[in-house]
Symmetry: C2
Subunit: 455 residues, 2 copies
Amino acid sequence: MKNWLPQYLPYIRRRPLSSRTLALSPPTVLALGFAGLIVLGALLLLLPAATTAPLNLLQALFTATSAVTVTGLVVVDTGTHFTLFGQLVIAALIQAGGLGFMTFAVVAVISLGAKIGLTQQKIAQEAMSQTSLAQVGQIAKAVLLYSVVIELAGILLLTLTWYRELGLATASWHAVFYTISAFNNAGFALSSDSLMPYAGNIAVTMIISSLFIIGGIGFTVLIDLKKQQRWRLLSVNTRIVLLSTLILNVIAFLLLWILEANNPATLANLSVKDQALAAWFQAVTPRTAGFNTLDYSQMTDASNVLTLLLMFIGGGSLSTASGIKLGTFVILIMATYAFLRRRDDVTLLRRTIPNAQVLKALALTFVSMALVFLAIFVLTALEKAPFLDIAFEAVSALSTVGLSRGLTGNLSVPGQCVIIFLMIAGRLGPLTLAYFLATPKQRKTRYADTKIQVG
Amino acid sequence: MKNWLPQYLPYIRRRPLSSRTLALSPPTVLALGFAGLIVLGALLLLLPAATTAPLNLLQALFTATSAVTVTGLVVVDTGTHFTLFGQLVIAALIQAGGLGFMTFAVVAVISLGAKIGLTQQKIAQEAMSQTSLAQVGQIAKAVLLYSVVIELAGILLLTLTWYRELGLATASWHAVFYTISAFNNAGFALSSDSLMPYAGNIAVTMIISSLFIIGGIGFTVLIDLKKQQRWRLLSVNTRIVLLSTLILNVIAFLLLWILEANNPATLANLSVKDQALAAWFQAVTPRTAGFNTLDYSQMTDASNVLTLLLMFIGGGSLSTASGIKLGTFVILIMATYAFLRRRDDVTLLRRTIPNAQVLKALALTFVSMALVFLAIFVLTALEKAPFLDIAFEAVSALSTVGLSRGLTGNLSVPGQCVIIFLMIAGRLGPLTLAYFLATPKQRKTRYADTKIQVG
Ligand SMILES: [K+]
Ligand SMILES: [K+]
């Protein structure tokens, strides 16, 4: 576990491991865990008690993968095709996949033997300065505690919102399901039109979007926010994640409102308040919640292209969100700015980002783009669908967003396999890649340098 | 001019400049030269003698920009809308833009005061070891000499091919125009359907594709090829460019043939020989010639997606082609491979590529992708056209390819301006960016390092 993801936490100090190291590499453990969960989930969903109509093996695997990877793409309608038991299985898979992944990632980072020393080195010093199994357990507990508290708040608020409309029993079950689905950025809904009926509902829009924004912002940011009282005491990483979340959401909100304002199929016929709510929800959901209150296939192409970018970016590191992550995106922007200003160091908020970090961000982005491209190429060869629908579906799957322009239900068998692969790669890929980048193997012979023409 | 593009030539040794340096930076000189050529060209095309029908200012600017940047996208038909004089102006603009750019780039590299020491340090040692104005002139002469010899061969062969069909006068004029357009990777044609009538013509297919492949492979590769007799004596850069050209062309050839074999609108009804010729031509033209013998809007979406990638990659550095360039693409592939193998040094052909080089390749690619994305977003907001057509047009313009699915003629006025901007950015951008990357300005204060979470 040595050298495991040092870039995940600022200013890590390495110490000798005081406990035994695992024989398997963390990415292998993670992949095995996910595979096990998916197979178990698929088997449970195949039980007659889980469904109201026949479900084939591929559909079960697709649904389980979508739940465990917290994607939310569905080949059958969650609300009608599954019984309450089936929906419970899906909720459990989401919770295990989303929370489990976040916990694993945080624990893996901590078990480096590192002290989480954010800029002011005050956070969690005692709890995290050693790596005994007991300590690992403590960290995992902290992650779970945070999550449970936030989820309980969500369940309470949503039950209060829905109990008049649905009655207490249904309201509380919906509240549980939607809270789990939202906090874990899964985007599974109990109706086939996601949250479209609530496009103008302030409570639902705000509670659900708050849940997935908090879930998608990352554990280290949350813990930093709780411990520090003032903005200037927050770590650079925390400030960057918060600032970029705010800026991206506001820009997306304004752009989507402008782009859809005259679209009669979406915003044109809504009141200003409802327009604002719908624009807000569609602005924040692509990174990477996956609920929607508008129909993406009815939105303008420009809104869809903007959504493609937002989906590709995703949320914070060590969170329930996927994508290349906010930190990666910010580094790319600042590196580009530095290049264009002919500076050889990349800076932000009066800090220098080491070149190795920039290289990692670029590598991660390039691999993601290569994968998206390859997937789009294969899907265009397999599916009869407009290019935009295919590109949207591929990016949505790789970033485990779950938004769709309607292609998911019409996918061919090989097409479904491609999407399953993308969901798994999208959820496990960045962490695995970061591990590879963080733990290089030295090769034995070193060749002489050469120069290849660039540009 | 110090530090000008050291990565353009392998193993550059820096020497003090023996002659005066320019007061303007090379990118500025290049931009001013291009702007001057475009304005001059547009004015000439606006002369009544140049056209057979009215031409507005934007159309003239678009045509001149397309010619000078050797793109080949057209808003009016070159063969019918322009008189012989107008076509001569266009050919002159292509020659000046294509050859001028290549000469400038090579001279700029040489005027560093560098000896072109390819691996064996044998090439052009005497001619290029100093940087007096006389030497610069000599280098420019060498570039021009190469180009003229190749173009004369092209003109001769095409005249022989066409004189029975068209008569000597027309055949020789067509030969001149198509040779200039092909060698400079411009893709301008004298008929609105490009070279579609010659889809099954071996001579035309092979002569034209040879011309643009040679033109797009780059001057340093050509000079290395001429001086060295054996494969192993060629520089790593030369071998990489040749190998990647061969591999990409063969893969694209096979994929396109497979993807179009059953498409009745393209290959299905052709003989095997004609299928091979058409697949070959469409495989090699996207990087970045721009002629076509099949209709891209009739080809499968998968073929179009493959073409998007090929267009984005482009040809060799210091050539008449654009795109991110073969060297950049190969570095990206090898860097990804190294990351996935958890190696911290990127190697190919038993040589190590320095990390700084990798970073430049990634930066250049990222900036290109950001520009393509921004352009697609703006164009989807401006134009009523399928997403694939818009993406195709944007990439084609930025890589100065000139292929189109038919959108060019239907572009709105702001849409035409976007495409004009992309063509100029695509031609000048990579060289300018490479200059920025190669000549960093040190900032005065250096901030402390920080770590931002990635992945
Ligand atoms: K999701
Ligand atoms: K071209």
